[in-house]
């Protein structure tokens, strides 16, 4: 038996302890041992190594000859690489992944680990993490020893025993911690090798090993590894990178700071391999920049930047100076900087390589991540520089800055999004007078690193360490298509926490309750409760399954009365609470306690959305949380401040709007539409405007103290009887924006359409939104970007909301294969106006170029109608006021049937004697509504009508709509909305139809 081992680490990491334990066991097993160590000055924070030789024959040299070692045991990965010249080709290179960063030029951690992973036989373990898991970070060297025990030709039990004896004098707990550390290391090493055997890459296997529980790690052998899909490198941060970034953040935290210094920001992005910062050296306040250090800077100039906790905008504060690269001049500048800012909390000066660049628009880029309350981690990238801030305010969202929730985002997708910005147009050299200044690959690498950092650190990390609130490089300059950061800032702050999970399965009971109870209906007056009770009954709800919580009465308006919640004869699916807000905490508590309610609507307002009611909201929330703590399910609560719910499938309606104010057409069948709104009035206004909307569900969600917008959007979106969901949102609960984005993704993936209106566009809008429903309105741009990426149709006006809702509801069943429009009207201005509106914000249509067959058919139709000399047979088709219903019908059918036409707009100016458009005529079989209605019903492509005339023609409009066809009251608006719709459908082909 012979084994030559090199131990490597940094002074103070405890490699000599490892060596001593191994040596002791070898001695007790009768082996010869040589173990050469480093002592003295070289130990101080420097590289240390030990040659350890075991053999059953005499050993001559204390030093291992080159090319002869069988095993490297390293506590630090850079140190592991320092001795490869000593290794046999089949030697095992074992190292902990934890980087010990006490030098300024420490390379990206994963680069170092990748070099270790290139060695044919290697094992990587996260000794620091495993040691903490075992009970003490100081046992990292014993984790490494445990891992090494796999590769040592020594008895494992004896090793563990020798280790335990070494720590015996320090007490039983220390021994136990080190035993665990030893076993964790041993199992983790085996797991790593197993993972590599199963085809994993070093990174993917480490991720898997990191996911193993302490129970797994305490087993003598690891659990079976999964077969690893080939994982693109960098899909997440490795444990080593996380630990390195954590180290930096922890350091900031330990110094009592929230803000990171520029060089610390650079260190973070460098550690994760994002971008190589320019050469820089931090010179602490009381230290001197050496000549040697200064000489190591490239170029002729350096930049000196003040590092102070209370100076953020360094340029504005005159805290940045340039100096020729001469030590006396640089030192002079540093002194002056310090003196000028003597009143500040100065920590030193950052000396940075001078990077040539201009501040011209298009020569700077910013990339930032931050933790948002609504969406969690968010990434943004756009043109950097001061001028840009002004320009950005004048551009539409998404044009100046690409911005997106980062939690589920892939770098490739963000790059696509970034490519749609003006920034990319300039940086990629597409704009006039610009050359490409950065490669797509470099952008991708940068975005990926920022995304990974955001996903890991811009979130609530519990007790793992400080959360990263924001990290931004602004600006990046460019050098040879590479990004060079010129300034960076970051700060830590607690990130928003996810709320406790809700038993969302109970939402089904809310949507289609098999029994309902109403609390708060007055026996003597028509109060809200009483209106609700009546509305439920009028909606056709079975009175046998309806209860009123009312003491002293047998029956109220036909509903059975019970004295209290506890007296309910069975569990009801829905409880509608229409009592005063101040009673809510008690009612919520009772509702949970009685165990007889699956879901509840809390109608009262004044629980959070108004000044002074915040405490009440907190109380309600506490009551919900408290009740839920004890049991798995329990009721879900909608509201408070919910106007109510209309559910056609559930045959109930609690919207407390009297029937004479809004005809809800409850007699008509439900359409496959749901409205989810934070404002109840918004819902009823849409229903009033679109009187044939007849939504299956209208849900007023109120203050979201329990159920959130995301919960309800997901719930209705999953239903088979819904194709279209309209959502009005003012603000999200903590992290519910993210949940909403995920819900949207799920819904749109099912081939459904979601129309999304987000209030809170401007600062004033945000304030209004906060005043209205107590939701602190969040980042409007982020919400829009998120919704758009999740496949929603984002609208900016209420009109647009209505029109797209109508289009979606009416055209869901039609197939959309393109954006080529057929246009006809009996008025020239309409055809011209429609052609003018073909291209607009967020959509682009074209006029269909109809083929000769179609032209011939049209010519024949026009000839037959006597219009041969008046009308050009082409698209757009201006039929002139002479056109009759028959010509209309035939021409519409011909255009619609043309291969080149994807959708048809039929403009009708009813002020012509040639058509039957009067109130008394529109019902006739020969009138246009019936003729076009038939075409619409049979068409596989979208058809819409336009009636741009006054009140007198409302009957015509109603008659047209009754066929299900969308009708607009202005031709250009029709094209704009249809443009949005067709563009959307063409980009997001749905599976249904």
């Amino acid at each position: 038996m012979k084994q030559d081992i090199i131990l490597a680490g940094v002074g103070g990491q405890g490699i000599l302890t490892i060596a001593e334990v191994i040596s002791q066991v070898a001695l007790s097993q009768g082996l010869q041992v040589k173990q050469a160590e480093t002592h003295g000055m070289s130990q101080r924070g420097g590289a240390v190594q030990s040659h350890l030789r075991l053999s059953d024959a005499p050993i001559y040299s204390d030093l291992i000859p080159l090319g002869s070692a069988d095993l490297v045991i390293a506590v630090e990965p850079l140190e592991a690489l320092r001795y490869v010249q000593y290794l046999k080709p089949d030697a095992m290179l074992l190292t902990s992944v934890g980087a010990f960063v006490n030098i300024g030029n420490y390379p990206p951690v994963e680069d170092v680990l990748a070099r270790v992973a290139q060695w044919p036989q290697h094992a990587l373990i996260d000794a620091d993490r495993l040691a903490r898991a075992a009970g003490s970070g100081r046992s990292a060297n014993m984790v490494v020893l445990g891992a090494a025990s796999r590769f040592l030709k020594l008895d494992q039990a004896a090793l563990e025993q020798a280790m335990a004896e070494r720590f015996a004098s320090k007490g039983e707990r220390v021994v136990e911690v080190n035993r665990r550390a030893f076993r964790f290391g041993r199992t983790a090493a085996a797991a790593y090798l197993l993972g590599l055997d199963k085809g994993g890459t070093s990174v993917s296997v480490r991720t898997w090993v990191d996911s193993l529980s302490t129970e797994h790690l305490a087993q003598p052998e690891p659990p079976d590894a999964p077969y690893f899909e080939p994982l693109a490198s960098g899909e997440q941060l490795s444990g080593a990178e996380i630990a390195a970034v954590e180290g930096t953040l922890q350091n900031v935290y330990d110094e009592g700071r929230k803000t990171l210094f520029e060089h610390e920001v650079y260190q973070i992005i460098q550690l994760v391999g994002a971008i190589s910062p320019p050469k820089h050296i931090f010179v602490p306040k009381d230290e001197l920049l050496s000549d040697q250090a200064l000489d190591s800077f490239p170029g002729e100039k350096v930049v000196c930047k003040l590092v102070a906790t209370d100076v953020v905008h360094k340029t504005d504060a005159k805290a940045v100076v340039f100096a020729p690269k001469r030590s006396d001049l640089v030192r002079g500048e540093i002194d002056r900087l310090m003196q000028r800012h003597a009143d500040k909390d100065v920590r030193g000066v950052l000396v940075v390589e001078f990077v040539e660049h201009t501040h011209q628009v298009g020569s700077e880029l910013f990339v930032g991540i931050r933790a948002t309350r609504e969406f969690g981690p968010v990434i943004a990238a756009g043109l950097g520089g001061v001028d840009m801030e002004l320009l950005a305010t004048r551009m539409r969202p998404g044009q100046a800055v690409a911005k997106s929730p980062a939690a589920d985002l892939k770098a490739e997708d963000f790059l696509e999004q970034f490519k749609r910005t003006v920034a990319y147009e300039l940086l990629s050299g597409q704009a006039r007078g610009h050359e490409r200044s950065v490669s797509d690959g470099e952008l991708l690498r940068c975005f990926r690193a920022f995304l990974l950092l955001a996903q890991r650190f811009c979130v609530d990390r519990g007790t793992d360490g400080p959360d990263l609130a924001e990290l931004e490089i602004n600006p990046f300059a460019f050098r040879g298509q590479r990004l060079v950061p010129l300034d960076g800032r970051a700060r830590t702050a607690p990130a928003a926490k996810d709320s406790a999970p809700r038993p969302v399965a109970n939402i089904a009971a809310l949507l289609e309750p098999s029994s309902i109870a109403v609390l708060g209906a007055s026996a003597t007056s028509m109060n809200f409760g009483r209106i609700i009770l009546n509305n439920v009954l009028q909606a056709g709800y079975d009175p046998q399954r309806l209860y009123a919580i009312k003491d002293g009465l047998r029956e109220l308006d036909g509903a059975r009365c019970v004295a209290s919640l506890n007296d309910l004869p069975h569990v009801v699916d829905l409880l509608v609470v229409a009592a005063g807000a101040e009673q809510l905490p008690k009612i919520v508590t009772d509702t949970i306690a009685c165990g007889k309610v699956r879901s509840a609507i809390l109608v009262p307002g004044g629980a959070g959305e108004t000044e002074g009611s915040a405490e009440l909201a907190v109380e309600v929330q506490k009551a919900i949380a408290l009740g839920r703590a004890g049991q798995a399910g329990g009721p879900v609560f909608l509201g408070p401040n919910s106007l109510g719910v209309l559910s056609r499938p559930g045959r109930y309606d609690t919207l407390f709007i009297p029937a004479n104010r809004l005809n809800k057409h409850l007699d008509q069948p439900a359409r496959r539409v749901a409205l989810v709104s934070q404002s109840g009035a918004f819902i009823v206004s849409r229903m009033s405007n679109l009187d044939n909307l007849n939504p299956a569900f209208a849900l007023s969600i109120g203050n979201q103290l329990d159920l959130t917008l995301a919960d309800l959007t997901a719930a209705v979106g999953q239903r088979d009887d819904i194709d279209v969901v309209g959502v009005y949102c003012e603000g999200f609960r903590d992290l519910d924006g993210l949940a909403f984005e995920r819900a949207l993704r799920d819904v749109t993936r099912r081939g459904k359409e979601v129309i999304f209106y987000k209030a809170g566009r401007t600062q004033a809008g945000r304030t209004a939104a906060a005043g209205h429903t107590a939701s602190v309105a969040g980042d409007y741009d982020v919400a829009l970007a998120a919704a758009e990426q999740a496949g929603a149709i984002v609208v900016e006006t209420f009109k647009e909301f209505e029109q797209l809702l109508e289009l979606c509801a009416a055209l869901h069943g039609k197939s959309v294969s393109g954006t080529r429009l057929g246009v006809m009207s009996n008025a020239g201005f309409e055809t011209v106006g429609m052609a003018d509106a073909l291209v607009g914000p967020r959509y682009r249509l074209e006029l269909a170029q109809t083929g000769p067959d179609t032209i011939e058919d049209l010519r024949a139709i026009l000839a037959h109608g006597g219009l041969a000399n008046l009308v050009n047979p082409r698209n757009p088709l201006d039929l002139t006021p002479m056109a009759s219903e028959a010509v209309y019908q035939a021409a519409a059918q011909t255009l619609l049937d043309a291969r080149e036409v994807d959708a048809l707009v039929v403009g009708i100016v009813p002020l012509t004697a040639a058509l039957q458009t009067g109130a008394e005529e529109v019902g006739r079989d020969t009138a246009l509504p019936q003729r076009l209605g038939a075409i619409f019903a049979a068409a596989s492509k979208p058809v819409v009508a336009v009636v741009d005339s006054g009140e007198a023609y409302t009957p015509l409009v109603q008659q047209l709509r009754s066929s299900g066809m969308p009708v607009f009251r202005s031709a250009d608006q029709a094209v704009r909305s249809l443009g949005r719709y067709l563009t959307f459908r063409a980009n997001y082909p749905t599976e249904s139809v």
Partner: protein
């Protein structure tokens, strides 16, 4: 007999204990420190059976050992190679006085300068003093040879040197040690005759003649010593000294047809060398240190018709530590090995986080930045202040040289002259020059970096620290007005800078004690124990 796993240093210490020493004497110095520390931790030391206290310096240590020998108790004195420069005076002269009870000088050389300012070879000192030298090549020999050295010391009534190198000092190996029952019985010794150790010229002349006469016997001892072995085989030969043998054997693995002379005891037995040279045509002389044997063998005129190779010939590197790879190359047996990774970031040693020296240097550099100061320094962790970002060390020569050199510079009229010296180094060799500086009121500033320990060698006690140091300074005649105490802390930078400026601007000698305990120390004194409660800055 039982087997133990011991460092070379520990094997020596264990052997000294087993040889029945009455005392161990030393001053800390890498790589010899662990010898004394092992003895000091032994039960015999705690019981008082063996005296073990750090000495002020190596000269003091050697003289203490000599005194113990005189009264009839065996003694071990251990030091690093440059320590023998300090102790050279008593060492050379003790060859003339001779010893009574066995006296072994253990000196640890540092080929490759792992932690030293030179790589001098102590065998030359032994040769110069004309005393026997043992050179163990492994841990077992380290143990065996020390026992043998005590026996020889008493037999020849001479001090005996045992020379090891860093690699052996700091390498562990299996050692068969004697069990209690096997320990040698040591004869009780009387005091030597009166006056025989009094080196007045008349007596010294006769003692030196006796020493010269004894040389033949010493060569004869070496010739018959099992420490020296000759194996004649092929026409290619090697001479190995001490640890170099291991590297040759590692390279050959016992294969090949080399003739081999190994030397572990000196003076060099010429007869063994002659037999090897007669037998071989080509001889490689392998010494981990200076080429002592090679020089003797080649002489001025060389050996006719023989190829003598070694450090002098250029077949081995002229400087630095040997290793198996150098041997393999010289013997034409080099193996393939992977390339070292050339582009790895270096990790040089550096001052620990929170080290008081960092703040001391920051203050000194800031206080003197308007001038062009001369910053003499000394031996200790603070020598790392030579590196960026401090660059606060202009010289480091030998223990105590900072103050003496500053005194020389001050006498040349230079200004400002500062020197930095640690508390332990100050005790070692700083007090004598400071006495001279105080008497002359030289225009210079001595900054004593008092961290209350001997930090670099691993936290050994210091003799001049805290209030004791203050008493020494005052006792030496330094004007109390110009003795300042500062506490090197980041947040005291401004007052420390002011204090140093004040000291430097004083025309005459000023002493600044920069007092804060070493962050690594296991027995840190409190601020009060360091005298900081009386420091002006503490009162402010």
């Amino acid at each position: 007999m039982r087997y133990r796993l011991l460092l070379g240093d520990e094997a020596i210490a264990q052997a000294a204990l087993d040889a029945g020493i009455g005392g161990a004497f030393s001053y800390p110095g890498t790589p010899a420190t662990e010898i004394f520390e092992y003895i000091a931790k032994n039960a015999k030391a705690s019981s008082g059976e063996v005296s073990a206290r750090w000495s002020t310096n190596e000269k003091v240590a050697y003289e203490e050992a000599l005194g113990m020998s005189w009264v009839g108790k065996r003694s071990l004195v251990s030091m690093k190679h440059v320590g023998l420069n300090v102790a050279a005076d008593p060492f050379i002269n003790s060859a003339l006085t001779g010893v009574n009870a066995g006296l072994v000088l253990l000196v640890a050389d540092d080929p490759g300068m792992h932690s030293s300012q030179n790589e001098q070879d102590s065998r030359f000192y032994g040769d110069f003093a004309q005393v026997p030298i043992f050179e163990p090549g492994n841990q077992q020999e380290a143990y065996d040879f020390v026992l043998r050295a005590f026996e020889l010391s008493e037999r020849r009534k001479l001090p005996v040197m045992v020379r090891i190198v860093t690699r052996l000092s700091h390498s562990r190996g299996n050692v068969a040690v004697l069990s209690e029952s096997e320990l040698p019985v040591i004869d009780q010794r009387d005091r030597p005759p009166a006056c025989s150790w009094t080196l007045v010229p008349a007596i010294a002349r006769s003692r030196y003649a006796a020493l010269v006469q004894e040389q033949a016997a010493l060569v004869d001892d070496a010739l018959h010593s099992p420490a020296n072995t000759l194996h004649l085989a092929g026409k290619r030969g090697v001479i190995t000294c001490g640890i170099a043998r291991n590297y040759v054997l590692e390279a050959t693995q016992g294969n090949g047809d080399l003739s081999m002379l190994h030397l572990g005891q000196y003076p060099v037995p010429a007869e063994l060398v002659r037999r090897l040279v007669d037998h071989c045509d080509d001889i490689l002389v392998c010494e981990d240190g200076y080429p002592l044997v090679e020089k003797k063998l080649v002489g001025l005129l060389g050996v006719p018709a023989k190829r003598i190779r070694g450090r002098l010939s250029g077949d081995l590197p002229a400087t630095g530590e040997l290793n198996p790879d150098i041997m393999a190359a010289a013997l034409g047996m080099a193996k393939e090995a992977p390339e070292a990774l050339a582009d790895l970031a270096n990790r040089p040693p550096q001052l620990c986080r929170g080290c008081p020296h960092i703040d001391s240097f920051s203050a000194i550099v800031q206080a003197t930045q308007d001038w062009n100061p001369m910053l003499f320094s000394d031996i200790g962790c603070y020598t790392l202040g030579v590196a960026p970002p401090y660059r606060a060390v202009h010289t480091c020569v030998d223990m105590g040289a900072s103050i003496s050199m500053a005194l020389g510079a001050a006498r040349a009229g230079a200004w400002p002259v500062l020197c930095t010296i640690g508390d332990s180094t100050f005790a070692h060799s700083g007090m004598t020059p400071l006495l001279a500086a105080a008497r002359a009121d030289a225009n210079m500033t001595v900054v004593i970096l008092d961290n209350a320990t001997t930090a670099m060698t691993g936290d050994q006690s210091s003799l001049t620290t805290g209030p004791g140091l203050m008493q020494v300074l005052q006792g030496m005649g330094v004007d109390p007005e110009h003795i300042h105490v500062i506490e090197p802390l980041h947040n005291r930078q401004d007052e420390n800078v002011a204090m140093i400026r004040k000291a430097v601007e004083h025309k005459g000698l000023s002493v600044v004690v920069s007092a804060r305990a070493c962050v690594q120390s296991k027995h840190k004194p409190t601020r009060i124990e360091m005298g900081l409660d009386k420091a002006p800055s503490a009162q402010a």
